[in-house]
């Protein structure tokens, strides 16, 4: 495969696309698929074929990846094949709407189905998700048609591994798995490490509950991840890659498996890629349901066929990782950013975002929010704009209480910090963290003590048991939180809880334990009054805890802050 051949494939794919007068794009990612969008697609195909001889127009029905707004599915985008930007997005399309939808092609859009979502898409900058919803994820040529694999060929034929790493460093890209470690620095450490065999691992063990960005990227645009990994392999000198995917994501596994096969067939994986001496191939490894395997050393242990338990670092995987070889581990979203950076240049990427956090971040906006779905926003956008602008605010007239980011390692951010511009540092300053990108909005029907207990239960059951602070500490903290929820705790219990947070945070072996106290610490920081109400008055203002909710008249007003 040479640059010219790639361009030819791209031209053919686009000519194919434009040969149709209209196109109908149906989302067949998990969210819409759960509402039988695959059957909807078949019906649309049949209806379009039946209408074609009558209208004399050709219509192409395509199954695509995620269009973002999962709650409003099944989503269908229709319009002129030549101008994807001017297409109409329909939400909640049912089988009964198919006829009207096909007949409307070339005429006025069907008003009752039209999704009025300008607000949702305003302010979003799609980089990682640029192809999501526009290409058929199972067709490599459609990816190539949208500039796919140009970055790989550019890197292999025009750039040295050193220049590739320089570009990634200059772009300011940081690890999107949550830690925010500079990607360029990680790559250069692996590149410098000595070893005959090096590995590239893609961490797709998205265990963080409430987050589904990686699943969506794998299901909607799998080739992008493969291209990013291949470029990384070239940059660090690795010839072998692994994608470690959760077994809970069967659709992502299927699409990734077929995408790897297509990439091999096109000569974009394997030996002598693009006529150079560079060889690289990727294998899939299935996770088996252990949250701790998101930690890099635990993930490596799992690929080696062992229990997924972390080990002390150093040595870091960059020096001694998989089977003792230098290993580069990055998250799905990090790899998904690589190709655009190489294609469009580091300066372009670095021009988006804040001083220390560059580019965009994909968030899964869920919970008590009107527009639930996947958003990609530039770093530096205030939380308020994401939640009340893009997200459309809290539904059912309820009051916003907190937004949870960072999953079980993160924290709850209250209203007063909503004007915070999103960046790695700013989120840590308010006691939360970026995490992999789950953003769960809570209203006044959620009890913050109960939420802290929920996360502690998660950490307790997911603790691998290797180090004592995490194994025993999370269990003790869970019991204390349960006592508070039940209205049976004393002030001494609260003090003990705070002490334990400190111990577990500072003495645990890996990230799971070190961050397990975060949900408690952040809710204590902003919602201490809720803890005190449970302890002093056996009162849960949200009415979800076992201690029950008391009428305000029974509580003295002075003791209950608003």
């Amino acid at each position: 495969m040479t640059s010219e051949e790639l361009l030819q494939i791209a031209e053919e794919a686009n000519a194919d696309r434009e040969a149709s007068d209209f196109e109908v794009n149906v989302c067949v990612a998990l969210g819409c698929l759960s509402q039988h969008s695959d059957k909807l697609k078949d019906t649309l195909t049949a209806e379009a074929a039946a209408a074609s001889p009558r209208t004399g127009k050709r219509c192409h029905v395509r199954g695509t990846g995620c269009m973002g707004l999962c709650a409003a599915g099944p989503l269908v985008r229709v319009g002129s094949a030549a101008d994807a930007g001017a297409q109409t997005l329909y939400a909640g399309v049912r089988e009964g709407d198919v006829k009207a939808l096909i007949e409307s092609l070339g005429g006025k859009p069907v008003e009752r189905l039209t999704a009025h979502l300008d607000q949702y898409f305003r302010g979003q900058i799609p980089i990682v998700l640029e192809n999501s919803g526009y290409i058929d994820p199972e067709k490599i040529d459609e990816y190539i048609g949208r500039d796919g694999y140009q970055a790989l060929i550019k890197a292999l034929t025009e750039m040295s591994p050193q220049t590739v790493i320089e570009q990634i460093s200059k772009s300011g890209l940081r690890g999107r798995g949550g830690g925010g470690y500079p990607t360029g620095l990680k790559w250069s450490t692996v590149a410098k490490a000595v070893g005959a065999q090096k590995y590239v691992i893609c961490n797709a063990d998205e265990g963080d509950p409430g987050a589904f960005m990686d699943r969506s990227v794998l299901e909607s645009d799998p080739q992008r991840v493969i291209e990013g990994m291949a470029i990384a392999g070239y940059a660090v000198g690795a010839s072998k890659g692994y994608i470690y995917v959760r077994a809970e994501y069967p659709l992502a596994v299927t699409r990734m498996t077929s995408s790897l096969r297509d990439a091999r067939r096109r000569g974009l994986l394997g030996n002598n890629i693009c006529g150079t001496t560079f060889a690289f191939d990727i294998e899939i490894r299935l996770g088996a349901g252990a949250f701790v395997c998101g930690e890099e050393t635990a993930l490596i242990a799992s690929i080696e066929g062992l229990r997924g338990q972390p080990r002390p670092r150093p040595p870091y995987p960059a020096v001694s990782g998989l089977w003792g070889s230098p290993t580069l581990i990055n998250n799905v979203e990090t790899f998904a950013n690589v190709a655009p950076i190489i294609r469009k240049g580091a300066e372009w990427y670095a021009s988006i975002g804040t001083e220390k956090s560059k580019g965009t971040k994909v968030f899964a906006l869920t919970g008590k929010i009107t527009n639930t779905g996947l958003v990609e926003i530039p770093m530096g956008m205030p939380l308020r704009e994401i939640i009340f602008g893009i997200g459309g605010g809290v539904p059912n007239g309820r009051k916003f209480k907190a937004v949870q980011t960072g999953g079980p390692s993160g924290g709850c951010i209250p209203e007063e910090h909503l004007d915070l511009p999103i960046s790695y540092e700013a989120l840590i300053d308010v006691g939360s963290m970026m995490g992999s990108g789950g953003m769960i909005v809570m209203d006044d029907t959620s009890c913050m003590v109960n939420v802290a207990r929920f996360f502690m239960e998660f950490c307790m059951t997911e603790s691998c048991g290797k180090c004592i602070p995490c194994r025993a500490g999370t269990a003790q903290m869970y019991q204390l939180l349960t006592k508070i929820c039940d209205g049976k705790a004393s002030h001494a219990d609260l003090d003990l809880l705070i002490d334990l947070c400190d111990v577990v945070k500072n003495t645990s072996l890996c990230g799971l334990g070190m961050t397990a106290p975060n949900p408690v610490l952040s809710t204590l920081r902003y919602f201490k009054h809720e803890y005190m109400e449970h302890i002093d008055h056996q009162h849960c203002r949200a009415g979800v805890c076992a201690c029950g909710s008391k009428p305000l008249s029974e509580l003295s007003q002075a003791e209950v802050p608003a």
Partner: protein
């Protein structure tokens, strides 16, 4: 060490699939998890015979094989019921009332999460986020994903399963 591979535990064809996975990985020790995945998907659970067979074939100590089989949530050591109702307990689902769904299901089936009804008909399981948070709360009825689930809808399905007994 050149030990001959053990004979297949029985003439059940599924053992050949399991053997195929191990052969594809050259009977390397690190194929343990991949092989257990194959056993789990072919047989539905890992029993003593299967774990011993895999451990022996891959020359992995039995302690390690059992260690791995019990460490990961995805592997089950008991057969599942005819039907499985899996309730997602991810954060988004929890905020949207998955705990109420769980309470209703436990009440209706008279079993705790992770167990199967005594007649072997329905298993009630939990999931740690299936990644369909946009449709929370979600449940899996057998392997079919259902979003925005109201307790009534779930209970109806449980009744239908119970009636087909």
């Amino acid at each position: 060490m050149n030990l001959a591979p053990p004979p297949l535990p029985s003439d059940d064809k599924r053992w050949k699939i399991v053997n195929g996975t191990m052969r594809r990985h050259g009977f390397a020790r690190h194929a343990l998890i991949e092989t257990l995945h194959t056993v789990q998907s072919s047989f539905g659970f890992l029993d003593d015979v299967a774990i011993r067979f895999v451990a022996q074939s891959l020359h992995v100590p039995l302690s390690q094989a059992f260690g791995v089989a019990t460490f990961y949530n995805h592997f089950s050591l008991k057969p599942a019921g005819k039907h499985t109702c899996t309730i997602c307990l991810g954060t988004a689902c929890y905020i949207k009332g998955a705990d109420r769904l769980m309470a209703e299901a436990e009440k209706r089936l008279k079993i705790k999460a992770g167990h199967t009804t005594p007649d072997g008909n329905i298993s009630l399981m939990t999931a740690r986020c299936v990644g369909a948070c946009g449709r929370a709360p979600v449940i899996l009825e057998d392997s079919e994903l259902l979003g925005l689930v109201e307790p009534g809808v779930m209970l109806e399905q449980l009744e239908r399963w119970a009636a087909h007994d």
